[in-house]
Amino acid sequence: MAESIEVDNLVKTYRMGEVTVQALRGVSLTIPKGAFVAIMGPSGSGKSTFMNILGCLDKPTAGSYRLDGVEIGGLNRDELAEVRNKKIGFVFQNFNLLARTSALENVELPLLYNGRANRDGKERAMEALRSVGLEGREHHHPNQLSGGQQQRVAIARALINHPQIIMADEPTGALDSRTSVEIMGIFQRLNREQGISIILVTHEPDIACYADRVIVFKDGRVKSDRTTSAPRDARTELEEMPASEIGEEEAAA
């Protein structure tokens, strides 16, 4: 497998008034295409900073980050926006959907910024919604959807431009356990069937177990980086779940 993400001696420092905070103190690792990686660590460990840099939302202070062979540190604001638009899909803990805007239009949003909205935007958005199991709810507004459904809309939005990587920042943080398993199921399916790399930030070890590889951060450095021999499989778990344990998906349906 080709290397998708190459990080070499990555350093990020913030100035907060007089104090300089070292969020990342030299991180080096590679993530191949089609990987499913969980990033863990206590708060302040630098995992969010690392995630922001991988997601091209932030630039490193020193060191190199190459995405698909392109050095991200050398790009300007608008070039970064273009990379995010084309290669990266974001899923957030609090969904970040536009209120008073239908699911369909939320999913179409990234198309607005690469001039594809007018052509086949509707069909592509419908297709993305279908792939996360939200067919028939395209005209619902976020406040008419359950948390799990909102997160599915967010995943559909992340998928619309056929990204290489999905960056998921605590995607199950606001969801109950069964819905969390469902969301992880979607990620596993996208990873296995479409070869999309998933990079998942979480502090729940249960959730990290769905990934093939778990990287733990501490004090701005990689503390451990291990491959999971037998990751949890969301689909089989869902099938085995007792009927009494009805998740909110069914309740809302």
């Binding site: 939302l57 604001r77 608008d78 995010r84 638009n85 084309k86 970040n96 607005l112």
Partner: protein, 411 residues
């Protein structure tokens, strides 16, 4: 273009979400634009009215009056000399190429009697060309003719005020009135002209052939039997006014045998010059009114800026999200700029409509002509767009350069 259409849609949606707030913000622009439109309409109405009055005096008209005379060291006022004659008038008509028509006028006041009614009015002895020069129309009957002037015919043309006062409702044509006890047959009436720019009633007048007027009514000046009170000269064209003035002056100096070192014994007045001063003062007035009104447009613009800043802060997370999914600096800038311009343009259009309505009301209740010109509408529209761009730019820029991480984290 494919950037603008979705931006406008987003802008309208954002503005609909906060209807009351958008409405109040627009109110500033609405009031500003309406005030500008109404004030300009009032101003141009005044200008149009003055132009109308200038037209009513006569088109392209120059007035020649005799100069002053000095008698025993006492200088009498202009117009007292008896140096202008009917022959001068004929000579001007014949010899000045820039002149279209000439009418000598002798005027005075007289009591006019018809049946039981009498009325004191102004008598103008003149020639038929007078009507053309003063833009006077015959309402009924006809004018007297050049032949009437030559034969001292006792015929009269009456202004509307005189007709109303002497005849009430009955038909004056063919009736005989007495002017200073001399019977005159009414051959025609004048169409009403209303007030002169000086506020005189231009319809309170009787026109007589100049020959008859002098011999029978006004009396012949002992010093110069051929003298006239004034000569009205009409230039061939508005652009030939100063030429006609020059030619008239030169001819009269020559005819009056004035040496180069002597002053004119007559005065040539170009009335349009006098009234164009009035016109330009009306224009200055309307510019002044419009500039005062445009202050409220600027205040409205500040309102837009204020609300856009609030909107940017409120929607920080939305901006962060848009940036995360690939919105470039110019996308965010365009979105907020379009929103501000939409506010100001919608406000501008409503303001134009309101301003038009306001000026209609003003002209209805204040009896004052107003004129909503397309130029004013276009200017108001353009100005509100400029206000939107100017006051929307800073908030939009602020939004466009937010840090996406900070924006996404904003609570």
């Amino acid at each position: 273009m494919n950037q603008i259409v979705p931006a406008v849609q987003i802008a309208f949606r954002a503005l609909r979400v906060n209807k009351l707030r958008s409405g109040l913000t627009m109110l500033g622009i609405i009031i500003g634009v309406a005030a500008v439109i109404a004030m300009v309409a009032v101003g141009s109405g005044a200008t149009a009215r003055i132009q109308e009055q200038i037209q009513s005096i006569g088109s392209n008209m120059i007035m020649v009056i005799p100069g002053s005379i000095t008698s025993s060291g006492i200088r009498l006022g202009a117009g007292n000399a008896v140096t202008l004659t009917q022959d001068d008038a004929k000579a001007i008509a014949a010899e000045c190429p820039a002149v279209a028509a000439v009418a000598p006028v002798s005027r005075g006041g007289a009591q006019v009697v018809y049946g039981n009614n009498n009325w004191a009015t102004s008598i103008q002895g003149t020639t038929p060309d007078y009507l053309a020069i003063r833009d006077n129309q015959i309402a009924e009957g006809q004018s007297f003719t050049q032949q009437d002037v030559e034969s001292d015919a006792k015929v009269a043309v009456l202004g509307k005020t005189v007709v109303d006062n002497l005849f009430g409702g009955s038909d004056p044509i063919g009736q005989v009135i007495r002017v200073k006890n001399v019977p005159f047959t009414v051959v025609g009436t004048l169409a009403p002209k209303g007030q002169s720019p000086m506020g005189q009633d231009q319809d309170d007048v009787i026109l007589l052939p100049i020959s008859t007027a002098k011999k029978k009514v006004l009396g012949v000046n002992q010093a110069n039997a051929a003298s006239v009170g004034s000569i009205l000269v009409q230039a061939r064209d508005g652009s030939l006014m100063s030429q006609a003035e020059e030619q008239t002056r030169a001819l009269l100096r020559q005819r009056h045998r004035l040496q180069p070192n002597q002053e004119d014994d007559f005065t040539v007045r170009n009335l349009e010059e006098v009234f164009s001063a009035q016109e330009s003062s009306a224009r200055v007035m309307s510019i002044l009114l419009a500039s005062i009104a445009s202050v409220s447009l600027i205040v409205g613009g500040i309102g837009i800026m204020n609300i856009m800043l609030v909107s940017v802060t409120e929607r920080t997370r939305e901006i962060g999200l848009r940036q995360a999914v690939g919105a470039k600096t110019k996308d965010i800038l365009t979105q907020f700029l379009v929103e501000a311009v939409t506010l100001s343009l919608v406000g501008g259009v409503i303001g134009i409509v309101l301003g038009g309505a306001a000026s209609a009301l003003i002209s209805h209740f204040a009896q004052w002509n107003t004129l909503v010109s397309p130029t004013a509408i276009l200017m108001a529209f353009a100005f509100s767009a400029v206000v939107g761009i100017f006051f929307g730019y800073y908030p939009a820029r602020k939004a466009a350069f937010l840090d996406p991480i900070e924006a996404l984290r904003y609570e």
